[in-house]
Amino acid sequence: MSQQKIRASELVVSLILFEVGSTTLFLQGGGVKQNAWIAVLGAGAAGALVLLLHLAIHRRDPRLDLFLLFHRYMGPWVGTVFNLGFIAYFAYEMSRNLRDMGELTMLTLLPGTRIWITALITLLVVANTVRHDWRVSFLTGMALFPIMVASYLILILIIFLSGLIHYEFLLPVLENGVNMDMAKEVMKLVSFPFGETVVFLVFYPLIQQRRSVVRNIMISYFGIVLFLAFINQLSVMVLGPVLAANTTLPLLETVQLVQFPGVFERMDALFTLILFMGLGFKMVYFYSGAVIGLERVTGIGYRKWIIPLGALIFWAAFWSPNYTHHIWLGREIVLFTIWPVFQIVLPALLFTVMLLRRNKIKPH
């Protein structure tokens, strides 16, 4: 177990990569069609509150990570129960991402290859990254960050240049006002992707500098929200609201439409690689979160947990017999039931307990 510190900039970069990760895959807020951007912005605002909650927890007791916090403030028994819950949550998130990755590969790059092979290889690559101490994961994020940024910028540039954008697809705005559909979409979005930042509670204590961390994180967070809203909306502006909402991978479809005859055609294969990297990062952080949790709970080094947990995750990734079920499970069921518990409810509970017991237990 390493006591290496990471710098705030590395954490911020990782947060960006994590959030953008696989979010650009699907159309967010498709239920309200052309008003998706409003849904994203609204959810971003709500997500900011959740993030502030997490940061407040961190600020109160900066040296403990998520698991130690629960252990300390909720007592060893209750804390362990919650910790196991979090471990299961992280592991399940990771297995969902693994399945997403496999399905995406199947759909775009390697249609003839069995999905368990791509999933296995992905798992091995991710496990290899987790095997080094987590400082390496953050540094890898730093190393790959310029590539991701450059790729997205180029993407946006070529979409604009290709003349595919129809600004009129943005209209009419808020035709039915802010109604139940909008509320539902916003709620969905808070859980995915904005609430997933809860996993970073495991990593905050590793930061070296203390002072302007919160401010930097919040600023980058708002940047992320704007960026996501924008990219999301690009798909709508190119494909049209009805088609975008009904397409499985709208950004991919958009990229496919880009055509500079003779020079670039079908850039979607290259774009998929960027999505892979984003998905990969999410997996690395969830996986790390889970194995670190196991180490805290059991005292056995996290490296030993990588293989068993990996096998478990691999098995869990294939729970859904088909893609439709997988999506349904993820976007309709867990999104409303399980995710908010871990992302909002439990942290809120923890915070309350921290405040209540602050007289009895001084911060570490």
């Binding site: 249609p111 009419p172 496919q256």
Partner: protein, 406 residues
């Protein structure tokens, strides 16, 4: 330890060879550059036009193949659905069809009349098929069209694609339409789309199907863009001729470049080339119904003139501009009339209203068809002849002045 090593080895081999499922060596691919569909629901015939690479380039050296082999190979297969028809081609064809470079999709007349929703779905759902494919409607059958070569080009599918591209840029009569555009036009409030038509003109079309086509200096038949098919929903409901199609192009603000012949006050023809045009079309609610407000602006230069008016004088130019404006107005009116007759809202007016004011649209929606048919035109065209080329007064006029000819 030995067993673990063995297991790892086996796994490694399995993993590495598994990708073989998706491998496609280049020489097992049949590159398809144009496809066509005939038939009706439940009974589709798909025609694919495949490239033969060795006919174009020999393996080493790169010189073009001789004319004895045509550059493409066409075959047809049948099935209940589009995909089935495609896959059944395996029974006849040694190569695996590869559609990623498919640029042209031809819909046979029969299919167009029957309905195209299924076709659109198969494009959207499949990864390999691109939605940037340009669509054409065949006047006869897609099979006929695709079997024809377009000399002197070796690849007719590509030639058609180039044809559409150039045509948009140079004449702008027919707006090329992609599958993607069809999809979003149909899924919008207007539920209508216009697709260019293609047919064969001339005789002896059998010539065009063999390499004999390259042996004549002037083939006796060729493919030509001939009109605009109008679709309401999935079915084709009618077509427009060239003049009307031009009018529709104007209304859709698709005119990028156009050569317009107009007659002057004494019926002498002159030619005006438009190099930029902008048209704004807005449905405006009036007391009795909607009025289509059309405001067009075009700039260009004079290219050919027989005019007896004084071109070097601004007043003369103004006269010509008026003539041109009259011409354009007439074209637009013809186009509009054609649309109104078929009650097909390819301009997307319904969407314009919807986007501007959703409530207004909701109330008018049930009677939209009648409203559309009743719509009146309010056209204003403004033309500006920016340049008159390298010559001053028309040659005819000069001659007239010199020798007194008429």
């Amino acid at each position: 330890m030995k067993r673990i090593t063995l297991l790892l080895l086996v796994m490694a081999v399995m993993v590495l060879s598994a990708g073989c499922g998706s491998r496609r060596e280049l020489n097992e691919l049949g590159l398809v550059i144009a496809t066509g569909v005939d038939g009706s629901k439940g009974n589709y015939r798909i025609t694919s036009q495949m490239i033969i690479p060795s006919a174009l380039y020999s393996g080493s050296g790169g010189a073009s193949g001789t004319g004895s082999q045509t550059g493409v190979f066409v075959f047809t297969s049948e099935g209940h659905t589009v995909k089935e028809a495609l896959d059944r081609s395996v029974l006849k064809n040694s190569r695996r069809l590869y559609f990623s470079h498919n640029n042209i999709f031809v819909i046979g007349k029969e299919t167009a009349d029957d309905g195209i929703y299924e076709l659109i779905d198969s494009f959207l759902r499949n990864l390999e098929a691109r939605e940037t494919v340009k669509v054409l409607v065949a006047e006869s059958s897609a099979k006929e069209i695709l079997e024809m070569l377009m000399p002197p080009e070796k690849l007719p599918g590509k030639a058609l694609d180039d044809l559409l591209n150039k045509e948009e840029k140079v004449e702008s009569v027919y707006k090329a339409v992609t599958v993607h555009e069809i999809a979003y036009m149909l899924s919008s409030e207007a539920n209508a789309v216009s697709i260019p038509e293609i047919r064969m003109e001339g005789s002896e079309e059998e010539d065009l199907k063999t390499s004999e086509a390259f042996k004549r200096t002037a083939p006796r038949a060729n493919l030509i863009l001939s009109g605009l098919s109008l679709f309401r929903g999935e079915k084709r409901v009618g077509s427009l001729n060239e003049q009307q199609s031009l009018g529709v192009s104007w209304l859709m603000n698709q005119v990028k470049h156009q050569t317009l012949s107009f007659d002057g006050s004494r019926e002498e023809m002159s030619s005006f080339v438009i190099d930029s045009a902008k048209v704004k079309v807005t449905p405006v609610k009036g007391e009795e119904g909607y009025i289509l407000k059309v405001r067009a602006k075009a700039n260009g230069g004079l290219r050919e003139s027989n005019s007896m008016d004084d071109i070097t004088d601004p007043k003369g130019i103004k006269l010509m501009e008026t003539e041109i404006e009259r011409e354009i107005t007439q074209i637009i009116q013809e186009g509009w009339a054609g649309l109104q007759q078929q009650k097909v809202d390819v301009l997307g007016l319904a969407d314009k209203i919807y986007r501007r004011n959703p409530k207004e649209w909701r109330s008018i929606q049930p009677q939209w068809n009648e409203q559309f048919a009743k719509m009146k035109l309010d056209i204003q065209v403004k033309v500006s002849i920016k340049r008159t080329g390298l010559f001053g007064e028309s040659f005819r006029k000069l001659q007239n002045k010199l020798h007194g000819e008429e």
